[in-house]
């Protein structure tokens, strides 16, 4: 067995095991909603504090046309920032892996920068780039960048020495060593980083929209809250949750298609 413990560790850390039986989880969810509904009716909570689930879904049935374009904007910000972080993060990870000088010059700064709470930069970015998409995409990028770089570096360094020796004994060029050996070996870890990043990216987009926006689900949540439209706020949260789940599932789907051989994927299929 080749030494891929680092990758496995990284994978299991960020990929929740889906051995939970879905039907049972749905029953639990339905039960919770029922308790909530009954509690809201029995105690007669006002709708501006805690609306009942039925009231929330009724509001959602009216709001969904209005929410759809805002959802689209948030999804766009998430995907743009996420793709940017992959396109920049993976090459930086490659640089860190291949060049010791680059590693020593850049890696400590990247790790150190993690102590800066990225969302605290949101007002600053807003001041620089205005209310448009740009500051949101940048916040998403900053949040998603770190897990992608770290996991890619771990993955690219996980090729066992004997694997590289084998490649060289075959007369492999540096490019062949990278494309045929190092990169495929690193993919499980890179995917683990991307799955973590996509979840963080949604959070990043919402927080950026809280700080200053005129559209997006984060904006809706803020405005609805200010107007005591709690049911609408819940509707936006539901939309957001669905977005987050779909994005994560999409990543998992791509991972499964790309890495059917990997232990983390095989574990899911059992």
């Amino acid at each position: 067995m080749v030494d891929i413990t680092a990758v496995e560790a990284a994978t299991t850390a960020s990929a929740p095991r889906r051995d939970v039986k879905v039907p049972y989880a749905l029953i639990t969810l339905a039960g919770l909603l029922l308790v909530w509904e009954l509690a809201a009716r029995i105690f007669g909570l006002p709708a501006y504090i805690l609306p009942s689930p039925s009231a929330i879904f009724a509001q959602l049935a009216i709001d969904w046309r209005m929410l759809a374009p805002h959802t689209g904007i948030t999804v766009f910000e998430v995907l743009a920032g996420f793709l940017l972080s992959v396109l920049i993060g993976v090459p930086i990870a490659i640089g860190i892996t291949y060049s010791r000088a680059f590693d020593e010059a850049v890696y400590p700064l990247i790790v150190g920068s993690q102590t800066v709470p990225k969302v605290a930069l949101a007002p600053l970015l807003l001041a620089w780039f205005g209310y448009g998409m740009m500051p949101k995409v940048l916040i998403v990028f900053l949040v998603a960048f770190f897990p992608i770089v770290i996991n890619s570096v771990v993955g690219l360094r996980s090729a066992p020495p004997q694997m590289i020796h084998l490649a060289k004994s075959m007369g492999a060029s540096a490019a062949q060593v990278f494309w045929r050996f190092r990169l495929p070996q690193a993919l499980p870890s890179i995917f683990a980083g991307m799955k973590l990043a996509i979840v963080l990216a949604v959070i990043g987009a919402i927080v950026a929209e809280f700080v200053g926006a005129d559209s997006g689900l984060g904006y809706i949540i803020m405005i609805a809250g200010a107007n005591f439209q709690i049911a609408r706020q819940f509707g936006a949260i539901i939309a957001l949750t669905i977005v987050g789940m779909l994005l994560f599932w999409a990543m998992t789907y791509i991972e499964r298609r790309s890495l059917p051989w990997h232990i983390s994927v095989r574990a899911l299929q059992k």
Partner: protein
Amino acid sequence: MAGVQVADHHIEPAPRRFLDGMTGASAATKTIVPTTSPSDAYISIQGLSKTFAGRNGTVQALTDINLDIADGEFVSVIGPSGCGKSTLLMLLAGLEPKTGGSLAIGGRPVTTPDPELGVVFQQDVLLEWRSALENIVLQAEIRGLDKKAATQRAKELLAMVDLARFADAYPYELSGGMRQRVSICRALLHEPRLLLMDEPFGALDALTRDQLQIDLLRLWSRRKMTVLFITHSISEAVFLSDRIVVMSPRPGRIEKIITVDLPRPRRLAMRESEAFLKFNHEVTDVFRSLGVLRDDPEEAM
């Protein structure tokens, strides 16, 4: 090197090699004769040394290694852990630079991996994302060989090691012994003239190990190929080899070279024969005299 070119005063007795598939007197008498002049040997190692720069100064891994290996010979290198036998293999593979002496394969000084080289490591190092067949064909892809012919040959190799049914299996579906067989097939795909093996069966259970030794000898007898086999099992070395190079603990030196003139093809039953045990004893005695093996902890070194 011409077939039968008998030398008057060769240093080593001629290693005999009876080819499995060959019949008739002409084949039986065909032996490979090491040539008199060392530079004519297929592998020529002279005064070879290797030091590593460690944290506490330099470490002498190998010192003054002199060894000639004839074309088609099966040579085992045996020694205790840390005697530098794996380092010797890395130098021969052109994966580590030497620090002294000279080293040539087929008359060519070794600086980079020889194009006619196949390597098998203790770990099978199969790529988890490729099927058994694809793992073997990788050798041809990297070397830019014809893929169709390579696929055909890979299938033949798999059949030879009894894995034809597993061509499309992924490494995680194979046992340790099967994985190592696939990795041997990969090393043989391009019909290398030299096969380097670094404790290839060291991680396998005893029964699998026995079977793989037989498989290896069968593959070796099919075609002319020089094998350098690193091991720390005495009986494995005796069973497989034409010659056994016994190494001393660090700094690694050649302590003794033993010629094993057991007949080929070698059979499992041979391991109980008196002649086999004699060679076993001979190697054991070298290690006892070196203090590597001791019956009694108080025994003088």
